[in-house]
């Protein structure tokens, strides 16, 4: 018996295949449908979007995460899988509108802080968060604190994620926390920070809620913050 289409979505997330033109980890899959085509087909055959999202895309990413933890997968595998999920989400988007679901888990505004032009780490976090089912608004690099807070307020985001690579720019993270307080948003929006010069101690020092030492830790911390927010 052929595989259930949702299972095929899981397989293709594991293979990191966005569409039929992509190579997978295994040979000989080019030309076969990737995540985008499979999601489209699943929707056409009447499978519930929730099922595609949870049992296909999210389940695939969970398995990818487990393979990473066990050492079988590496960062490029995680990123390509996350790209495949993103391709699937694009197809899903029109079908999710109106269901109050922006991608499942929650909304995060990401930015590299003012005067800092580095974006590799922040991009990594963005891709992984999307792959993990978060809705990500990426403001890019060199973003002033006021703009970050403004977007978080307008978009009703639960989390602001801040990145910095320089010890001269990391202090600008504190300004975001200050402005959230000034606007009375501090209880509503959690602040997660990361980047080479930052640390858990630094997060506490500036009044941020959490620190992620890498992209995977960032996902775990974001999930914890959401859970803590929901519980309170």
């Amino acid at each position: 018996m052929s595989k259930d289409i949702v299972e095929m979505i899981v397989d293709n997330v594991l293979q990191g295949r966005r569409n039929k033109d992509d190579e997978g980890i295994e040979d000989g899959v080019v030309g076969q449908p990737g995540v985008a085509e499979l999601v489209e087909e699943a929707l056409e055959t009447g499978i519930e979007p929730d099922r595609i999202l949870l049992k296909g895309l999210s389940r695939g990413m969970e398995l990818v995460g487990a393979k990473y933890e066990s050492g079988e997968y590496f960062i490029p595998d995680m990123l390509t899988a996350a790209e495949a999920v993103e391709a699937g989400m694009k197809v899903m988007e029109p079908h999710l509108t109106g269901q109050g679901d922006n991608g499942g888990k929650g909304k995060i505004v990401l930015a590299t802080v003012e005067k800092d032009l580095h974006d590799i780490g922040k991009n990594l976090v963005a891709i992984m968060l999307k792959g993990a089912g978060f809705s990500v608004i990426d403001l890019g690099i060199d973003v002033p604190a006021a703009r970050i807070v403004e977007v978080a307020e307008d978009e009703d985001a639960q989390i602001i994620g801040l990145s910095a690579l320089l010890n001269t720019t990391m202090k600008n993270m504190e300004e975001v926390v200050t402005q959230l307080e000034q606007k009375g948003l501090r209880n509503r929006v959690k602040v997660l920070i990361g980047g080479a010069p930052t640390s858990g101690d630094f997060a506490r020092q500036i009044g941020a809620d959490s620190y992620g030492k890498d992209a995977f830790a960032a996902i775990r911390e974001a999930e914890k913050l959401l859970k803590a927010g929901g519980d309170s």
Partner: protein, 513 residues
């Protein structure tokens, strides 16, 4: 076809063509004047037939002969010496094909170290913080047959190890000169499916070792086609002296038609000049003298140009391996062997350091990186040697295995060609129009095809302590528990029936009735 070893696509030539020819000429002149001082009468007889000028003398209590070797005799020997030699193996896929006209390099073990260095984790408590910490502690043991078996079992598993020279000097009470050779060769062959090379301590046991090898290979002719054993003879005592006992072995091995390494190891600063020109001219002359004896005994016999020139420490005259001069000497010798179209046996990876650590890593990395660049063929001493060549440490051997993996990777040819650049243009175009402009997908393809080096496998998690040795120790313990690749029971039975002197405890199938 074996894919062992690594090809060095563009060997580094330290010497110019003119310098190579000058060394050749000088070495040949040295072999005439002063000539060699030979302590072996049969070798003298062989030289005499080539028109060599012989002058008998007395060195202490021993008869000796000054032999002025005519250049033509050496050139003729180089003509008859084969440029291609097979080193056989129990598993044919592990055969080593030594071809002086190509540039493939193989890494192996050696030498007979007196000490086995064990790494043991011990827990310490900080006086200040009272925190517990685990540190590696080193303990030295005398070499034994059991440790040789352990080492051979590890060597079988090291993926970058291509041939085995026993690296533990067995010092068991029940081992003597009369039974050492058969037991050490059996211990090696019974744990390895890779080529085994070694010296013989007692010429009386040579035929027993060969008998054992013939049983393993499946007969006399099969052993010549698949020589599961090859030999090393240190026929030269530097400077320029031919030793009686080893010459006898060399001639006997040549007549058996089995591969043999002529190994000469002068020390720059004591038994050879310390500078490039002096060392290379002399060590080359010594290797040529050995090859000439071998070919005079049996023209066409498989012979390997073995040069292990070392430098003396200036404070105590001990050998030094981890110094730039060692690379200079060794790389030049590889070039000379290639010039003569004779396969070469060389050296890299010895740590002068007494224990694994920063000093050992620096010394090993220097020679492991540089020597293979000259494409010498066989590179011995590459696994686990410390304290010059006095000590073998299994954890160090595991680290060396990784280092050699890096060196092999380093030799990979560049993938720049007209097809790949077309693909690069496509990939860059695609990535530049993607949201985050990252090449993760491109890297993943290479990762999965094994085209990305795996990185350092013994990286610890502590931020303030190097855990390399502790992690290597854990891995060595696991490797010690894997299934040993013993010879089949029937082969063992036949060997124990046919070969006298084997210790029953070496038989993995129990004592032979």
């Amino acid at each position: 076809m074996s894919d062992r070893g690594v090809n060095v696509p563009n060997p580094y030539n330290r010497l110019s063509k003119e310098q190579v020819e000058l060394i050749d000429k000088t070495s040949l002149e040295l072999l005439q004047h002063p000539g060699i001082l030979c302590y072996h009468e049969e070798s003298v007889d062989l030289f005499e037939k080539t028109g060599a000028i012989i002058k008998k003398t007395k060195e202490g209590e021993h008869d000796a002969w000054w032999v002025s070797i005519p250049p033509g005799a050496v050139k003729e020997a180089l003509e008859t010496a084969p440029s291609k030699i097979f080193l056989g193996a129990r598993n044919p896929e592990n055969r080593v094909i030594l071809d002086a006209e190509n540039t493939r390099v193989y890494f192996g073990t050696g030498s007979e170290t007196n000490y086995w260095l064990e790494v043991e984790p011990e827990t310490y408590i900080s006086r200040e913080s009272k925190d517990e910490r685990v540190f590696p502690v080193m303990k030295k043991k005398r070499g034994s047959l059991e440790l040789l078996c352990q080492s051979a079992h590890l060597a079988e598993q090291f993926e970058n190890l291509d041939f085995f020279i026993r690296n533990v000097n067995v010092q068991d009470d029940d081992i003597s000169t009369e039974n050492k050779d058969v037991n050490v060769f059996f211990a090696s062959l019974n744990h390895l499916t890779k080529p085994v090379i070694g010296g013989v301590a007692d010429i009386g046991q040579l035929k027993e070792v060969v008998k054992m090898a013939e049983i393993i290979a499946g007969g006399r002719d099969q052993l010549r086609k698949n020589p599961v054993v090859a030999f090393i003879t240190s026929v030269i005592k530097s400077p320029l002296q031919v030793v009686a006992e080893t010459s006898e072995k060399l001639i006997a091995i040549a007549r058996l038609g089995l591969p043999v390494v002529i190994s000469t190891s002068p020390q720059g600063g004591s038994t050879a000049p310390i500078d490039d020109v002096g060392m290379i001219a002399q060590v080359n002359a010594e290797a040529l003298a050995g090859i000439t004896i071998n070919q005079l005994a049996n023209p066409g016999a498989p012979v390997i140009y073995g040069a292990v020139p070392v430098r003396a420490r200036m404070d105590d005259l001990h050998d030094m391996y981890g110094v730039p001069e060692f690379c200079h000497y060794t790389m030049a010798c590889a070039q000379m062997a290639r010039y003569y179209k004779v396969p070469c046996y060389s050296t890299a990876g010895v740590g002068d350091a007494k224990v694994p650590g920063i000093q050992a890593t620096m010394e090993k990395m220097l020679t492991h990186t540089m020597v293979p660049l000259s494409a010498p063929g066989l590179i011995h001493y590459s696994f686990g040697l410390l304290d010059k060549t006095q000590t073998f440490c299994p954890e160090q051997a595991l680290l060396d295995n990784h280092q050699i993996g890096m060196i092999k990777f380093l030799q990979r040819e560049s993938n720049v060609n007209s097809d790949t650049v077309e693909n690069v243009k496509k990939v860059v175009e695609e990535v530049m129009h993607s949201p985050y402009r990252m090449y993760a997908r491109y890297a993943r393809g290479m990762l999965r095809r094994g085209e990305i080096f795996s990185g350092f496998p013994f990286e610890g998690e502590l931020e303030d302590q190097d855990q390399t040795l502790l992690l290597a120790h854990e891995r060595i313990k696991e490797m010690g528990k894997t299934v040993q690749k013993h010879l089949p029971e029937e082969t063992c039975r036949r060997i124990f029936d046919a070969v006298p002197g084997l210790l029953p405890r070496l038989n993995p199938y129990g004592e032979v009735k």
